[in-house]
């Protein structure tokens, strides 16, 4: 490995035999996928912003998202979604811990933290299922919000944008949970120990943190602004 003291990249580094980014092929490709995925999500959220800016009236998020499970009729704006946000952040942290245990080749540690991360992801999905069900059936608002209509004084596109964007994000969470389960099982079976490194945990970890990152902006666009 050519040691670059000043951390800059020189043209000679690209002539083969060295790793200019100090990163494996798989990790780099995961990064490039995530960059493209970031643009997809950005386009969705900017479409949301454009339509919102073009509408003289819009739904008040504090009115739309004010329900809590087990607390029927209680007005708790931002309550439930804060819990969801916290669950997803924690789940992300657990997977970082799994990656770190992988660096020191601690198989048990990887499996332990991956299981916690999977539970967090599943809990987030459960919360989202509750929220969707609550909004679709509309138990506390009289009648429900669907992708084609809503009752919050905003254009119907409010419902469409909400379900498409949170649904697209939720599908990312869902597939992330599946990937996490596969990686966890493989780690448990010693696949990575035999391979000599836990890089697969890192790659899936990147994807998982990205899902958390996107949620920060979904939370911003739909619930805060």
């Amino acid at each position: 490995m050519a040691a670059t003291v000043d951390k800059s990249i020189r043209a000679e580094d690209w002539q083969g035999g060295v790793s200019p980014f100090n990163s494996s092929y798989g990790k780099l490709m995961m990064w490039y996928f995530l960059v493209s995925d970031a643009f997809t999500f950005s386009a969705f959220l900017i479409a949301y912003g454009t339509i919102r800016f073009s509408s003289p009236n819009w739904a008040d998020p504090n009115e739309v998202f004010n329900a809590m499970p087990f607390l029927e009729g209680v007005n708790a704006p931002l309550g439930f979604v804060s819990i969801m946000t916290f669950i997803l952040i924690l789940s992300s942290v657990f997977v970082v811990r799994a990656v770190q245990e992988g660096h020191i080749m601690n198989r048990k540690g990887v499996v332990f933290w991956m299981i916690l991360g999977i539970i967090g992801g599943a809990m987030f999905l459960g919360c989202q299922a509750w929220e969707w069900n609550h909004l679709l059936t509309g138990v506390s608002h009289g009648h429900g919000m669907t992708p084609f209509m809503n009752t919050f004084g905003a254009p119907a596109s409010f419902g469409a944008l909400f379900f498409v964007i949170t649904g697209f994000h939720g599908f990312h969470v869902f597939s992330g949970v599946i990937f996490n389960i596969i990686v966890c099982i493989q780690a448990y079976m010693g696949v990575y120990e035999r391979r000599g490194h836990y890089e697969m945990v890192e790659k899936i970890g990147l994807y998982w943190h990205f899902v958390d990152l996107v949620w920060v902006f979904v939370f911003l666009a739909f619930y805060l602004l």
């Binding site: 951390k7 800059s8 990249i9 200019p20 980014f21 100090n22 990163s23 494996s24 780099l28 990064w31 995530l34 960059v35 970031a38 643009f39 950005s42 386009a43 900017i46 479409a47 912003g49 454009t50 339509i51 919102r52 800016f53 073009s54 509408s55 003289p56 504090n62 704006p77 931002l78 804060s82 946000t85 916290f86 952040i89 924690l90 992300s92 942290v93 970082v96 811990r97 770190q100 992988g102 660096h103 020191i104 080749m105 000599g196 490194h197 836990y198 890089e199 970890g205 990147l206 943190h209 990205f210 958390d212 990152l213 920060v216 902006f217 939370f219 911003l220 805060l224 602004l225």
Partner: protein, 157 residues
């Protein structure tokens, strides 16, 4: 690439991650508290300088993104060239956001004006015909000055 870090660097990295977790939690709590104080205590009737609150939310979210990308996704510890390769393209989003939100609010202006005086607009369309003039622009006069004066006289566009 077999990673085997020394114990010391393992320990500092673990504590860095928990520190980032603490920051993310604090920022999220502050965001929610700010939103609730705003709607329950400061402006229960609505209104207020929403722009101020929204700017705070956006900055806080960017700070959260910084912690997630930097610490959890490890970009802070990657080579600078890799970090730039990943983060560089996202700066295109600034123009993407500005252009589209600008367009959106322009669209809203048109809607509001249409709702205020739809017949005014219709008359203009009928007067000049649909074929070559569906935006109510006056092509017959020719030249920018004639156009703007003309549309101003007729109640604005």
């Amino acid at each position: 690439m077999a990673h085997s870090l020394e114990h010391e660097s393992y320990k500092t990295q673990v504590s860095a991650v928990w520190k980032a977790t603490l920051w993310l939690t604090i920022i999220t709590i502050v965001e929610v508290v700010a939103a609730l104080v705003w709607i329950w205590y400061l402006y229960p009737e609505g209104g207020g300088p929403r722009m101020l609150l929204n700017s705070f939310f956006i900055l806080a979210s960017l700070l959260k993104a910084f912690f997630i990308v930097g610490e959890f996704m490890h970009v802070r510890y990657e080579k600078r060239a890799l970090a730039l390769t990943i983060l560089g393209p996202t700066f295109f989003l600034i123009w993407f956001i500005v252009a589209f939100l600008w367009e959106g609010s322009e669209w809203q202006n048109n809607r509001i004006q249409w709702n205020a005086q739809p017949t005014e607009h219709l008359n203009r369309v009928i007067e000049h015909g649909h074929g070559h003039d569906d935006h109510g622009h006056d092509h017959k006069k020719g030249g920018d000055h004639g156009h703007s004066k003309d549309s101003h006289k007729k109640g604005g566009h």
